[in-house]
Subunit: 180 residues, 2 copies
DNA sequence: GCCCTCTACTTGAAACTTCAACGAGAAGTA
DNA sequence: TACTTCTCGTTGAAGTTTCAAGTAGAGGGC
């Protein structure tokens, strides 16, 4: 999955709507980008397969159970759960439907808001989590933390925080106060 | 894959429930892991949407076109293309079928191996790439390279290479010579 | 020649995600 | 009250990915 490569320069004029001369990636940046895409793809595939095999669900679903397990009374509003997992409410609806079929999660009406639903982790769901957590941690460890120096772990943390901040969909108009 | 899995201690049996004491992540590692998952999720979603909007295809498909565009005569054997994109041949078959419908890629029989197929990029496909490449590079830049210091870019490259090496599916039994 | 095995690729079904639309209730306004 | 608008969550269809199975040709041994 490469990014730059098609080098063709358009007109330099920057009329509204026209494109400015693209700022291509340098060779070094391209190499880093390729490594990034390559490694993240491999790791996500690896964890997906590991969890599918050992826990019977993909990584995202596992993340939902983890979130629920850490919530007070093991339950959360659907929207909060979706936000925490960074997925759409629609995707969550389908996912919870599937997890409900497995008996790992159930829904209940929210008492304070009649539109709302709580999802909660069943004992059975908690048990699945308890059984598969060690294997998952081990997979993460072997793929990443066992191979990086403590300095690299810190560096990775700092880098990922920067990237996340750039993309955080928190208040899209934060820099456009006149639109509010 | 590598020796990695679950319960690989030679000593203990693998009765359900019997597990070695898991090596949990430290607080610091957990924070970094969360940042990693968070940032990579946001970035992949962001690029998927950007490309869906501007190029009419998801990130993986875009990567296929890029690969083809860089290959000699803009064509590649299916298996090579799949390897380059780190996806299964099955997934590639479906993907190319879709790209063929768009008129961006076509297949042809491989002359030297009657089982084989070449996928090649059409002029139309190349044009789509040429049009959308600048926007894509810009998105990558804004999300990552414009925010990181040159040192961080280097660090990220090094880290991602380490992680990729740990997962590279090259010769799964390389460390288990007695199995061959 | 035959047979066996491996590789290249495809297929169809099931699982998962996205997208647009929807119903119901909350919340604000007049 | 009525009206509008927003939020919560779901639904169904279309698109994508995975999984298991399948066809056809290549390659090797006899």
């Amino acid at each position: 999955m490469n990014t730059a490569s098609i080098n063709e320069d358009g007109a330099s004029g920057t009329a509204p709507g026209a494109q400015a001369e693209p700022r291509w990636l340098s060779d070094r940046e391209q190499r880093v980008w390729r490594s990034y895409v390559h490694a993240t793809t491999l790791l996500e595939d690896h964890l997906d397969r590991q969890l599918q095999r050992d826990a019977g669900m993909p990584h995202v679903y596992y993340g939902l159970l983890v979130q629920l397990s850490q919530a007070p009374r093991r339950r959360m509003r659907m929207t909060e759960l979706a936000k925490g997992a960074k997925i759409t409410r629609s995707r969550l609806s389908h996912a919870v439907a599937r997890l409900e079929k497995n008996g790992w999660v159930r829904r209940e009406d929210c008492p304070s808001d009649k539109r709302g639903q709580n999802a909660y982790l069943t004992d059975e769901g908690f048990e699945v989590l308890r059984r598969s957590a060690p294997g998952h941690v081990e997979a993460v460890r072997q793929a990443m933390f066992d191979r990086l120096t403590p300095e690299q772990v810190d560096q990775l943390g700092a880098i990922m925080r920067v990237v996340a901040e750039a993309l955080e969909p928190s208040d899209p108009n934060a820099d456009l106060p006149w639109l509010r």
